[in-house]
Amino acid sequence: MGRLRFTKEGVAVWSSHLDLMRALMRCFRRAGIDLKHSQGFTPHPELSILMPLSVGVESQCELAEFTLAEGCPVPIKEVAARMAPVLPAGLRALESYEGGKKAGKLAWLRARLTLTYDGGVPADAEAALTALFARPSLVVEKFGKKGPTEMDIAPMLRDLSVLQTPENAGDGFLASLERTKEERASTLSVEAVVAAQNPTLNPLLLATAIETHLPTYKPDLVRCRRLEIYDADGAVFR
């Protein structure tokens, strides 16, 4: 079994999880890398993505798991380099490697929200948001398959910081807002480590929390980017 670490940025963020799966399968074929197929009536290549990404969210730390077909001569380590030239815009292959930690060990995700305020960042927003996320309990409404449910996100949050958006906070398609000084003055970043499995906290719910509990600080635009994944001990997950 091998792993492929890749980015999903730029125009590619608008593709769904299923679209991405289909795209990756095609990329493996284009790269001339045969994947192992399941048995049965309609054989499927053995390929999965560890944490499905919501449409519109960027990531620099996606992980896909694959199994090469028997007799495929490509070493797993070379998969990323082979994929690089055949990937569509927004997907970049960072590395590929054999094995890796068990998927079940994936525990935390570091993510960044970039909040845009069309009229400029409210003066005390940094302090207000910092205080909000320091509350011992923070209940938000979540829309799942079974309808809306309430969820306390406070215990699933760590290492949260609110900062002025640094330069080059994003790449590609979504970065245009951050090109000029004035535009930087209208954005604020929230970076945090959130629970990635059992249960999962979608970092976009941090924006929901602002909307719910501090409606006057509701941003006009929210962008989200996955930065890194960790195991339960806080070590980088690979």
Binding site: G10, V11, L18, R26, R29, F41, G56, A89
Partner: protein, 623 residues
């Protein structure tokens, strides 16, 4: 050239897009950036073509014609052709609210910045989408309101064999296959731009290109009863315009390095076009007549194209497409080689429109190696008498034998397509469909290898729409009420829980019939319907019959004039200016034979003298 494309994209539009995209369904279809789209350096581009498809991305990207012309125009140095599709309703609303103009997928530049606006029109019910797109682009709807050379609007595609309903909106039409003529048209435009010609002068120049029809060069005069009195060409305009065809299909450019969509489209697989045209002459079938003569590709070329495209795109499915693939001359050698290639790579190969004959049965079993898909029969009519009248050359015996083999081989899924409202159809013939379905059901009972799994027989019925350039181009359409009565009659005789019965909406087919045989007076109706909010009419989510009926009232137009009235045999037809190769006298003969239930042999078994051979350089058809 792909690198740095994101910086090259239009920033203002992107800023608006990032607000809108999170709020709409399937945003991936609005951003472009797919693998192998064409991006050019604007400094090296003198002419920009917005290639517009008046339907959704998923439909448009499945269209082979679009992919061919996109590739061919982008091979021209100095010309950049980009794609534009109709936004779904939620996106259209969001664009209007945000003031986001229609933009092209590659550069995200607004369409209003482009020189030429090209439409590919394959379906009558997409006409209002043309208006939506022009309006969203901020380009005047009427050809007469666009005075300059910029924003010349031209159109091609299957619907343009009767271009008249679009004559108000489109400056000129490109008839037939566009591989060669589109390049000539674009070059003619560049020349006009260099010389600073007026739009009027350009239209006379472009009208000299064979296959180009300029509607403003013709006056349509009507009689008091509403029928056409005459079509009068302006001095210098040809009396008729003959469609273009590709003489050597084998040598024609083919998209073996296609754009690979990042979201699922309708035909999400490699499309291998094995031939153009069809040897059959089903009397209701516009494509069968207008794509004549049949021209096959060689299996060697096709094998190479298939392998190249599969390796380039990474597709895991391929379909051998054409109007009637089982009539492809070299199907056996081609599928022999391709099956071997595909099986080894777990690529699924499908051959649509298989006929119920011996070879197809063998092939069906061979394809089973890769995947088991359902059986499909376009029987079209329930009795042999009516099938003879419409020249649909399929027999009950063929169908039952194929079913027998398939059921014995483990298939348990059959789809049957029929039409109701066909000329000369009687109630007994409607019930003939039910009889055929029961015979299939009994065949399953007698031969199924595994009866526990049950069988599904899908019966799909469409409302017959008489189309221009067919043997039935003069026929009256049955009234919607009568069509629905026949549907009900059939349904009452199909009560078996293994049978699933569906029939097409009558209202949609009625309007389709009106537009298909419409004249210039329908331009106002299309516009009125659109102003009343008609859009995406081909989609059940949006189709609104009442808007069209109100629009007809607004304009004082009687739809029955175009549908149930029927056209007189000596009447001037709105599409008489267009020459698709097939002669009117031949179509008339086909009509007479239909009324005698007499079949006409297919082109391979004997030339029926339709006239389309004259389009070929040697003058001889090669079925």
């Amino acid at each position: 050239m792909e690198h740095g494309r994101e910086n090259a994209m239009n920033e203002q539009i992107d800023q608006l897009l990032q607000r809108i995209l999170p709020t709409v369904q399937k945003p991936a279809r609005y951003v472009g950036g797919e693998y192998n789209q064409t991006v050019k350096n604007l400094r090296e581009v003198d002419t920009r073509v917005a290639f517009c498809f008046p339907d959704t991305y998923e439909i448009g990207m499945s269209n082979l014609g679009i992919r061919i012309l996109y590739g061919i125009v982008n091979q021209m140095e100095g010309v950049w052709c980009e794609r534009v599709f109709t936004p779904w309703g939620d996106m259209e609303d969001a664009m209007r609210t945000a003031g986001l103009p229609l933009y092209a997928l590659e550069s995200h530049d607004p369409v209003v910045d482009f020189d030429m606006i090209a439409f590919s029109v394959g379906y009558e019910m997409s006409y209002t989408n043309i208006l939506t797109m022009l309006d969203l682009a901020g380009i005047p709807l009427h050809a007469a309101e666009r005075s300059g050379l910029q924003h010349v609007v031209f159109a091609g595609g299957a619907c343009t064999y009767n271009p008249e309903p679009l004559a108000d909106f489109v400056d000129f039409f490109s008839l037939g296959e566009g591989e060669e003529s589109t390049v000539e048209i674009v070059n003619c435009y560049r020349e006009a731009k260099r010389k600073g010609l007026s739009k009027q002068d350009f239209l006379w120049e472009v009208g000299k290109i064979p296959g180009v029809y300029v509607p403003s060069h013709y006056e349509h005069r009507y009689k008091p009863d509403g029928t056409l009195e005459a079509i009068v060409p302006l001095p210098g305009a040809p009396k008729t315009v003959t469609k273009r065809i590709v003489q050597n299909l084998d040598a024609a450019w083919y998209p073996t390095e296609p754009i690979v969509p990042m979201t699922e489209i309708v035909h999400d697989r490699m499309n291998l076009e094995v031939m153009r045209g069809c040897i059959r002459g089903c009397r209701f079938c516009q494509a069968g007549y207008t794509y004549r003569p049949v021209r096959p590709r060689t299996p060697e070329t096709l094998y190479e194209q298939a392998v190249h495209a599969l390796e380039f795109s990474g597709d895991s499915e391929i379909t051998l497409s054409s109007l009637s693939t089982s009539d492809y001359k070299y199907l056996e050698p081609l599928t022999d080689r391709l099956t071997e290639y595909c099986v080894a790579r777990k690529i699924n190969m499908s051959v649509p429109s298989l006929r119920a004959d011996n070879f197809s049965r063998d092939l069906m079993l061979k394809l089973q190696k890769v995947r088991k898909s359902g059986l499909t029969f376009a029987a079209e009519a329930g009795t042999q008498r009516l099938r003879d009248a419409i020249n649909k050359n399929v027999t009950e015996e063929d169908i039952l034998t194929t079913c027998q083999i398939a059921f014995a081989g483990g298939w348990n899924n059959v789809k049957l397509y029929f039409m109701l409202g066909l000329p000369t159809e009687t109630d007994e013939e409607v019930l003939g469909i039910a009889e055929l379905v029961y015979k299939i059901y009994n065949t399953w009972k007698d031969y199924a290898s595994n009866k526990k799994r049950g069988v599904r027989i899908h019966v799909a019925v469409a409302f017959f729409v008489p189309k221009p350039f067919t043997g039935f181009q003069w026929e009256a359409q049955t009234t919607p009420e009568e069509y629905l009565r026949r549907c009900k009659l059939l349904k009452e005789h199909l009560n078996n829980k293994s049978v699933e019965f569906n029939y097409h909406e009558a209202q949609l087919s009625e309007l389709e019939a009106m537009l298909a045989r419409g004249d210039r007076r329908l331009g106002a109706v299309i516009e009125a319907a659109w102003r009343r909010g008609a859009k995406l009419d081909g989609w059940m989510e949006y189709f609104d019959y009442d808007k069209w009926i109100a629009a007809l009232q607004d304009c004082g137009v009687d739809r029955h004039f175009y549908t149930t009235r029927g056209f007189g045999l000596d009447e001037v037809l709105p599409w008489d200016t267009i020459d698709p190769g097939v002669r009117k006298s031949f179509l008339l003969r086909e009509r007479e034979r239909a009324y005698r239930s007499e079949i006409t042999p297919d082109c391979r078994h004997g030339c029926a003298g339709c006239g389309a051979n004259c389009l070929l350089e040697g003058g001889v058809c090669d079925g």
